[in-house]
């Protein structure tokens, strides 16, 4: 029997190159090279999935994962399903490639609107491009309030409550459902897929949507619809070599002098 406080959750996730892979940028397109690169569910998105699973395990409901990406994103989608997500939606179409943050948000919003949802959970930012723009844009497009930087999330009845991380501590913020919540890195430690989860995920549904299914055209998505352009991509400036202090009886004093010179002590 359905519980009165069950929540239908949509998690927006991204599939990114494995953290052990050295990211390459295509000099012509300024885009990350993803072809033939091993990928995984973004560790930040895994935290959003984990938070959704914890809520539905407590209260009932469903967790649908939405991912925009090429065919090779399937591995990450299966990862989320193996963790325990109920279903997945894969936005896969060459027309979506090159979308900027707003184009991505439009595609995600169009897919989410097809679902009955109470709560959308996103990572604060992805761990490959780090723009952090999509969740706010998505909330605007869906017409729901964004509760951002959550270090904890609870839902009671039709009210979501988060602790929002701030510089000096946290604020407690609430909103009526439906709502979009972004979660921080520290919110949880995500579970890993078990063998049972991996095998069970093979029977779960992955629905595929093209740009046409979402009612989106080249003016809104893809390279042609992108209003945000990456002009250059560069490495951070090299850091100067550090000072090595060899302790020959005066090491402590030398460190203290060094810190005093920097006015740190």
């Amino acid at each position: 029997m359905a519980r009165h406080d069950e929540v239908n959750i949509v998690v927006c996730a991204k599939v990114v190159p494995l953290s052990s892979v050295t990211i390459q940028i295509d000099p012509a397109t300024k885009r990350m090279v993803r072809k033939d690169v091993s990928q995984e569910l973004d560790p930040q998105a895994a935290k959003a999935v984990e938070e959704a699973l914890r809520l539905t395990e407590k209260q009932g409901g469903s967790v649908t994962v939405v991912v925009m990406g090429g065919d090779d994103a399937t591995i990450g989608i299966r990862g989320a399903l193996a963790m325990g997500a109920t279903a997945a939606i894969h936005l896969s179409d060459p027309a979506l490639a090159g979308s900027d943050a707003l184009g991505t948000a439009k595609a995600l919003a169009a897919a989410i609107r097809k679902e009955p949802f109470d709560l959308v959970i996103c990572a604060t930012e992805s761990s490959d491009s780090y723009t952090g723009l999509v969740p706010g844009q998505l909330a605007q497009l869906l017409g729901v309030p964004p509760l951002t930087f959550a270090t904890s999330l609870t839902v009671e009845g039709r009210t979501a409550t988060i602790k929002r991380q701030s510089e000096g501590g946290y604020d407690v913020v609430t909103s009526e459902l439906p709502v979009l919540v972004t979660v921080t890195t520290g919110i949880n430690e995500p579970r890993y897929p078990t063998l049972k989860g991996i095998m069970g995920a093979k029977k779960k549904e992955i629905r595929k949507y093209t740009a046409a299914d979402l009612g989106l055209g080249p003016a809104e998505i893809g390279e042609s619809g992108a209003r945000e352009k990456v002009l250059t991509v560069g490495r951070p400036p090299a850091r100067p070599a550090g000072t090595v202090i060899k302790d020959e009886g005066q090491g402590g004093k030398q460190i203290a002098d060094f810190l005093a010179n920097l006015k740190l002590i």
């Binding site: 091993s38 430690e189 890993y192 063998l195």
Partner: protein, 66 residues
């Protein structure tokens, strides 16, 4: 290197297994000193995955068993 088309599903399955092992190790490593139960569970989960891989029942992995 590009795999033969008929090995794609097997490649994907093996990648999933490797990612699961990787995730289990990553989950357990920070807790070696403070949460032995979690570490033991992760070890058991890794053993379970490795045992199935070594068994090599490909048709079962790919759901082709009649």
């Amino acid at each position: 290197m590009t795999g033969a088309p008929n090995t794609h599903a097997l490649d994907e399955h093996m990648k999933e297994m490797v990612l699961a092992l990787h995730a289990a190790v990553n989950r357990a490593m920070p807790h070696i000193k403070d949460d032995p139960k979690l570490v033991e569970q992760a070890l058991r989960d890794c053993e379970e995955i490795l045992a199935v891989v070594l068994e090599g029942n490909v048709s079962e992995w790919l759901g082709t068993t009649k």
